[in-house]
């Protein structure tokens, strides 16, 4: 780990001012940043410790029906907040499918959104990586790339964004509230993470010195509470990142048809991948397998392998269909013992043969 200066601001204004210096980084739970610093991938000159700032750890219901998640709310506290979990069950399920009990106790809402890719070549400082060292090349191209992107990638970077939390956040239209040297602004979460293009080192819409102060769910996000699921394929049952995941949320009209649908995918791109086209195709349809398969086709229409990962495309289609089936069947009373696991018993018996 490199040497750094440790700064502990007492107010938001002090935090933003301290972070304006080049080479400064915010410290929240530290579960991603310290890992990257130990590996020499992140080498900040100054750490601005946010964890002693007051007022950033609340989950608030606003009068208009939206919900504001403070930047420092711990992942475990958010998932286990009974009111929050009842309103946004797919978010609770996604959080509980991520990392481990210990990590979720430390990880914060903002830190989760800003966690960096798990591309092995990004982590290995002996490898070429355009994200870590712009212009150096991308050793994942033609390397071990089973886990890499099938949507939105470029020849410059084929990595994925690893967050589970962000997938239902994108589906539900969450907004990122930022505070920086130039004041406050907001960015929709679905536009917050950048696709790689020719500048994979530019990861998010966050400007220098800008801090995430909160994530906000708009009033309509709570409409889907009765029909929301998150489903995540992993290489082991628990404590593993997504190979492919999907958040699906529906409203069902009195005649049983789909009113509104929300759909986003994880593990397939350098951002949580919302498909508004698939959502539009589901509106007004009967919630049956044919409609779900059409939506899956649409969501993956532009997918192409970036290496040894063609398998992810049919896998993602199946996960989309299954997530939609589970959402249509209804949010379970209590989260399953294995949150988001495809190994949990499915409604109506076998779904795939």
């Amino acid at each position: 780990m490199n040497r750094f200066e440790y700064v502990r601001p007492g107010t938001l204004a002090e935090a933003v001012a301290a972070a304006a210096a080049p080479g400064a980084a915010f410290l929240a739970g530290g579960t991603n940043l310290l890992d990257l610093m130990k590996g020499g991938i992140a080498r900040p000159d100054r750490l601005v410790d946010l964890t002693h700032l007051p007022g950033l750890d609340a989950v608030e219901r606003l009068p208009d029906g939206s919900t504001r998640i403070g930047a420092l709310v711990r992942n475990a506290d958010l998932a286990h907040d009974p009111d929050f979990a009842a309103r946004y069950p797919a978010i609770a399920e996604a959080l509980l499918s991520g990392a481990s009990g210990q990590l979720r106790n430390a990880a914060t809402a903002a830190g989760n959104v800003l966690q960096r890719t798990r591309c092995r070549y990004f982590y290995d400082t002996a490898s070429a990586c355009n994200k870590r060292e712009p212009g150096s090349g991308c050793d994942a191209l033609g390397g071990e790339n089973r886990a890499h992107a099938v949507l939105g990638w470029s020849e410059h970077c084929i990595a994925t964004h690893p967050s589970d939390f962000c997938v239902p956040l994108a589906a539900l239209g969450a907004v990122v509230e930022l505070e920086g040297p130039a004041g406050r602004r907001e960015v929709p979460l679905a536009e917050f993470h950048h696709l790689p293009g020719s500048t994979p080192e530019r990861e998010t819409a966050r400007g220098p010195g800008e801090m995430i102060v909160a994530l906000r769910l708009p009033p309509e996000a709570a409409r889907f509470a009765a029909h929301s699921r998150y489903l995540k394929v992993r290489e082991r049952i628990s404590y593993a990142f997504a190979v492919v995941s999907a958040a699906a949320a529906l409203t069902l009209a009195d005649d049983g048809r789909i009113g509104e649908a929300r759909l986003a995918l994880g593990g397939v791109a350098l951002k949580p991948w919302r498909s508004t086209e698939a959502e539009a195709a589901l509106a007004g349809q009967a919630p049956d397998r044919a409609a779900f398969e059409r939506a899956a086709e649409i969501a993956l229409a532009d997918a192409r392998p970036s290496g040894d990962n063609a398998y992810k495309i049919p896998l993602a289609r199946r996960i989309v269909v299954r997530a939609l089936q589970l959402a249509a069947a209804g949010t379970p009373e209590r989260l399953p013992a294995l949150p988001a696991s495809p190994f949990a018993p499915a409604p109506g018996g076998v779904l795939h043969v």
Binding site: R8, L27, G30, Q102, I237, A337, L338
Partner: protein
């Protein structure tokens, strides 16, 4: 620059002067305070051997900067037994053979204490296994670990029920 912090460690309040902000809670415990019960496995959040309770919640001490924890209270495996009597989770690990080499055990036990306090898993083995998935055991003592966590959880619930009745 020196950083002076206050930590309550296993019930004892201590002032600690850190000459370097890079020290993790794990290294502080093991290298500077001689509390070597907490183990270093991966040092990267991937194994759970370093699990301690921070303000009553289980965390990986390898991914926590000590300087940032000023004012917190930490419980390690050394702080679980009271007056020479093992904590119910410790006793249950012995009764159920919840270990072989023992390297992961302090982390497993601290994680189990944290899990029981979270009160999400109850006596459901599937929920206990999922709740303990952040603790790897190279010896594969998982069957005994799950039994131990379930039994200790039940005993602790019983004991606190008795206490409530008595109160």
């Amino acid at each position: 620059m020196n950083h002076s912090i206050r930590l309550t460690i296993n019930g004892e309040e201590r002032r600690i002067d850190l000459d370097d902000p890079r020290v993790t809670l794990l290294d502080l415990l093991r290298e500077r305070l001689d509390l070597t019960g907490t183990k270093k496995g991966c040092d990267r959040g991937q194994c759970g051997a370093c699990t301690v309770l921070l303000d009553g919640r289980r965390v990986n001490s390898c991914l926590a900067l000590a300087v940032s924890l000023d004012g917190s209270s930490v419980t390690t495996i050394e702080g679980l037994a009271t007056n020479g009597e093992l904590h119910p989770v410790q006793a249950a690990f012995i009764a159920h053979d919840g270990f072989q080499c023992g390297y992961c055990t302090p982390g497993q036990i601290m994680s189990a204490v944290g899990l029981i306090a979270e009160a999400q898993a109850g006596g459901d083995p599937e929920r206990v296994r999922e709740g303990m998935s952040g603790n790897l055991c190279r010896c594969g003592a998982y069957a005994g670990i799950t039994e131990a966590v379930i039994e200790a959880g039940a005993r602790m619930a019983e004991a606190s029920g008795r206490q409530e009745k008595a109160a």
